[in-house]
Symmetry: C2
Subunit: 727 residues, 2 copies
């Protein structure tokens, strides 16, 4: 008896019969539209659930055209221009895409413009606007100082539509986003939604794509991406928002609070108070506004689903105000375990859905590419599945043109198997707390609000400076540990009391490692006390780094390592003998350190686990690069490693490190699979174990149950083996 449901497929008015077949094959219960497709007539005859995309703050071209003063804004920074003489002319919008960026030179906007002397770091007040904003003349400039103009501009083309338009050569009306902070627009978006609901009776799931403010994405003069920040709040700004902020928070923001020296409050920056306050301000506003929209949807008996992306700014699913919105569901794309957990751990929703890969688009679904399409599907599924064993999504779905996928019968068959396997996992795992060996906190400047969102810039993109840390999250997404995300403030409020171990990872002076937060004495005391009393500490890259008081790693005493920044070369380093074997590296003798770190050395009391001696170094005495070390600190333990990109072996390494620092080493002989490509999960409530082969090849492993009984097990490619009586 085949189970059905929990699966969404794209459909198209020109592919109704095919849709029916695949609905049946995959047991799907929902259909959705897709960019460039239209839903069939009477879609409810096809499926229980019918989704359609809905835009709140864009799409009504007439409204945008007739209300230019209510279009959205962002703060942008001009190029840095050097004054050669005593005056310098700057074109604020030079380098930006003219079809997206229109400097706002209204009196209301101009009062927010700022000229900065970037050499002195000070505001420069002597300037005039020229040619209606084409240029700014900076007067009484200091020769050979660099100047910038921070300016408010209208964002006259929605970034996602612009991207699709340019990439796909579309030729539709351009969507200018309008700002509901202006009363006319605010009323309009509500009225429009009502009309839409009335005119779309067949749609029972309104798939908001998304709400009010797009993440920060601005293009350059060639129409290519110039700045992208999936977390950027920059499009939510307006003269009105700035005035409202001042009323609510009692102080005035400036352009500099947004352009932030040109960093635009990247999530990698340690957040400043003004930006944190502004985020709070926008979150409250977005929650209040969207709540009204959701209530309208509910009043029509429909479900409100949020797409996690595009104009999602201010919703902050892990923030304080999100549950108050009252959404039914969130849907987001799934690129791996981290994105699964980002969705599946979200609080206060009836269900979450993951959009799987590949998209049914011609770049994958072309003649002769069926094997690759299936391989991509399997890869996406297996990385997502690893996390779902810990915390399952409620639904999965696909996007694109179903008719394209239908041309690949092997793909259709395999996707059907996956839908079945997904439902099987859901039934076995959902609501049944899986076994966790320990509780670990990811410690950084953001804490909970960036749960499963650390080290990210553009969503799901690979960054050289991030992947060696991102691997920690990908590993954690499928490990049998209870993960929480805590901030430095949380630590001071006692958050460590509930944890077995804490991880601090990242490059120096980023929000992730924490930068100047580590100069906070109370923070240092709390972390030291936690470890001294038996807690575990794991540092990756440049943990606790902030040069001060004779240390680069502020908790070098806990970590047992510090980084030689060239200032203490006068001090001999003798701790350069790595031990041959250690519990932590038993399954990963040759780890991948990713981008790695140079110049790390061990303090005398630490135990070096891995050290590099390159050819250059072996010629010399006492020179080596510590790559991993452990340290005992009071009753606690720490582990340091230079980088930890994701691999099965590194995930295993992290698990072993967590067990070691928490003194729970017995869990390599309990609820454990010796083969690092095979995960072992245990659901106490049901008494079931799952052994999950994460590879497309057969695997052997030794399985230890909760009582430590071992058994050799062979697994078929990609197999999940359920073990236990109550299946």
């Amino acid at each position: 008896m085949k189970k059905t449901g929990r699966v969404t497929i794209p459909t198209d008015s020109s592919y109704v019969e095919g849709t029916k077949e695949i609905l049946k094959k995959w047991g799907a219960d929902a259909v959705r539209d897709c960019d460039g497709t239209k839903l069939p007539e009477n879609p409810r005859e096809l499926a229980d659930k019918v989704y359609e995309t809905y835009f709140v703050a864009r799409g009504d071209v007439a409204w945008a055209k007739s209300h230019p003063e209510e279009l959205q804004h962002f703060f942008l920074l001009s190029d840095r221009v050097t004054a050669v003489g005593n005056a310098v002319r700057i074109e604020p919008a030079k380098g930006y895409f003219a079809e997206q960026v229109k400097p706002d030179v209204s009196a209301d906007a101009l009062r927010w413009w700022q000229v900065y002397d970037r050499t002195s770091g000070k505001v420069h007040s002597d300037w005039v606007l020229e040619e209606n904003g084409v240029s700014v003349l900076v007067k009484n400039a200091h020769p050979y100082h660099e100047y910038t103009v921070s300016f408010l501009a209208h964002n006259v083309w929605d970034s996602t539509q612009m991207y699709n338009y340019i990439t796909n050569g579309w030729n539709t009306d351009k969507h200018s986003p309008y700002d509901p902070r202006y009363p006319l627009t605010r009323e309009h978006i509500k009225a429009s939604l009502k009309i839409w609901l009335e005119t779309h009776p067949d749609i029972n799931v309104v798939r908001f794509t998304t709400f009010l403010y797009h993440f920060f994405l601005v293009f350059n003069e060639e129409g290519k991406e110039k700045i992208v920040d999936w977390f950027g709040y920059n499009t939510s700004v307006s003269p009105r928002a700035l005035d409202d902020f001042e009323k609510a928070y009692g102080y005035k923001l400036t352009a500099e609070d947004f352009v932030d020296e040109g960093y635009y409050n990247s999530p990698h920056r340690v957040p400043k108070k003004a930006f944190s306050d502004y985020m709070d301000f926008i979150q409250r506003y977005v929650a209040e506004t969207v709540k009204e929209l959701v209530e309208i949807v509910h009043s029509y008996g429909r479900e409100a689903m949020m797409f996690l992306g595009d104009s999602w700014i201010g919703t902050e699913p892990y923030g304080k105000y999100f549950p108050s919105i009252g959404l039914d569901a969130v849907v987001g794309s799934v690129g791996g375990g981290v994105t699964v957990r980002m969705l599946s751990d979200m609080p206060g929703l009836r269900y979450v859905e993951g959009r799987m890969l590949p998209y049914f688009f011609p770049d994958t679904f072309f003649d002769g590419n069926e094997e690759n399409a299936v391989a991509e599907l399997n890869k996406n599924w297996m990385t997502a599945r690893r996390a779902m064993m810990r915390s399952p999504l409620d639904r999965i779905g696909f996007g694109g043109y179903l008719s394209l996928a239908a041309k690949f019968p092997k793909f259709i068959a395999r996707a059907g198997e996956i839908c079945d396997e997904f439902r099987e996992i859901y039934d076995s795992v959902k609501g049944k707390k899986p076994f966790n060996a320990l509780k670990v906190g990811m410690l950084n400047s953001w804490g909970k609000i960036r749960s499963w969102q650390c080290f990210m810039t553009a969503h799901e993109l690979w960054y050289q400076q991030a992947y060696s840390y991102q691997g920690i999250l990908e590993a954690l997404s499928g490990l049998p540990v209870d993960v929480s995300f805590i901030s430095f403030e949380d630590v001071k409020a006692g958050a460590l009391d509930a944890l077995d171990a804490v991880i601090n990872a990242g490059d120096a002076y980023t929000a992730w490692s924490g930068g100047e937060n580590w100069l906070d004495e109370e923070l240092q005391e709390k972390v030291r006390a936690f470890v001294a009393r038996g807690g575990g500490f794991i540092g990756v890259g440049e943990p606790t780094a902030c040069a001060k008081n004779g240390r680069f790693f502020q908790l070098a005493d806990v970590l047992g390592v510090d980084e030689e920044k060239g200032l203490s070369l006068n001090t001999d380093k003798y701790n350069i003998n790595a031990i041959k074997a250690h519990f932590i590296f038993e399954d990963t003798p040759v780890p991948d350190y990713g981008e790695d770190k140079k110049n790390v050395y061990a303090l005398e009391k630490a135990q070096v686990l891995k050290i590099d001696f390159s050819d250059r170094f072996t010629r010399k005495v006492n020179v080596g690069e510590v790559k991993a070390a452990v340290n005992e600190y009071g009753a606690g333990r720490s582990f340091y490693i230079t980088g930890l990109p994701y691999s099965f072996e590194n995930a295993r390494l992290l698990y072993r490190a967590l067990l070691w620092v928490s003194k729970k080493e017995e869990y390599v002989c309990k609820i454990f699979s010796t083969n690092s490509k095979v995960d072992c999960h245990y659901y106490e409530e049901s008494g079931k174990y799952a052994l999950v082969n994460n590879l497309a090849t057969a695997q052997e492993t030794v399985f230890y149950d909760a009582d430590g009984r071992e058994k050799k097990i062979s697994l078929a490619p990609m197999e999940i083996r359920w073990i236990g009586e109550n299946r």
Copy 2:
């Protein structure tokens, strides 16, 4: 007719006849004693010049024993000890060598001790001494803060003697250095010198080894080197010196001004005002004191020679007070071109002498090792010779046991050839300004006082964090460019006006790159103006680095590159296409970047010359590691490279870079050798060219004369070919 002179050999009372033979073979005119040897009777019958080692502030064991209160001091820092409760006990001298370090617990010394809370970075005043200084009890401590004791200790064993004693298993009386800042000792050292001169009538060169204060070298509890700083002023301190300082400079120093968070004012640290003032204070004192000794030597009709090392602290040959000492000569060891120039460029001396390698010690001169000894001699000679072609030493010499060298006839013969070649170079080059294509300034926090002493910690030792920059100096030591060393203060005073190009090199936040100096607006203005008007700028590693105002490299606009520290990942970097060929890399297509730097990217306007795409990166878009780039800035040019360890090819690369940034590219067709292993020098005054084969293999090159006429030349191994009519 064989020339003679300018060569010093070691001799020994047991090897008189052999000495005579080698004096003749090498044309030597001076003999010297050596550690563990005694000069023969009537040494003046052997040679014109007779050197003997003289110790000023150590060696008189009886004096040291009878004046324990006048022994030398240093400031040391204890271990960092964590308070678990409200009190913590620290043993100040724990971890130090008890035979060297005796904490001074006299009332006069104790007033300089400091307890620091290293977590808060503040002095902690609530502490008591226990067990006569064995420990310090820190009271009212803050749990989980780290505490240290900074303490004055007597340095009861001269570091060099201690090293030799331990290394060679000597069993002599231990030398405790005494401090001439105390009046009895001051009178004693003068009186002793007079007696010595009277009792040593045959010695006509007093080889001071050296004067008052040893460079900072302290050993650990196992009798191994713990901290070494060839430039460390720490042994010159005493309660009396600190009081004198306060009288002279109007403010009081503290222990922290010396221990400096544990960095001990390493030369890699950006110097603070207190330390700069203290250096000045000690230099004045050393100059005044040593001047009196030199005058005594002169009053006896002898020459005063300083050994550059050991107790040389405060002499500062490139400092303000050195010429006032009135020394006749300096002798120092020669490890390569940099040490040659460090000696040969010293101002105000009658002559400088270089002690060549290898030493005639059993570690090299053992049976069957003759080839290696000759190879070492040739290598040392060729690296030194390269610099001597620019600025020759006045004398060379050897050290060790002559009888050992005499057992290797090939070595004796080759050393004789080298002595001849040295004299030939001296006669051809001395006083004849060689051709310089341009004037370049090495710009850092120290300037002139650290001429040819940049990037050093222990003298001549290799450091992982330094060699990629040290290579610049080694290259410059033999390049046809006029090198000066300038500080940031010099730049503000107009030093760039006299230069064609400037080099700023080093790791971020070190004294070499300059750290916070680069936030000085006037400095930025001067350098920008210099380049904009046509000057050249070369940056290596992390030039001008100091995170502020949206830049990591403060002069990113001049350099055309900046470093991605993980904070601006939201900004796309498109400038990733390196040009295929460039003038700078023509002779060095595949340079050695040494330690290299990651994360460097090019600004839009720069031209990338070298970029790396590792396997990891090629999978991704727009990710690459810029290794070298050029930029046009106004009328000037800049060149950036991530590292520049020494090699012939990298030296050539640097020369080409200097020519390019100075717009003097014509000098690759003038006074030039196309083969980078062959140097070309030109002495306008004599009209002579020298082509120098730096390798022990034959080389071909194309030689361009000053008029651009080219000629193919074949050179024998190691040959110098002199070309020109007036030879």
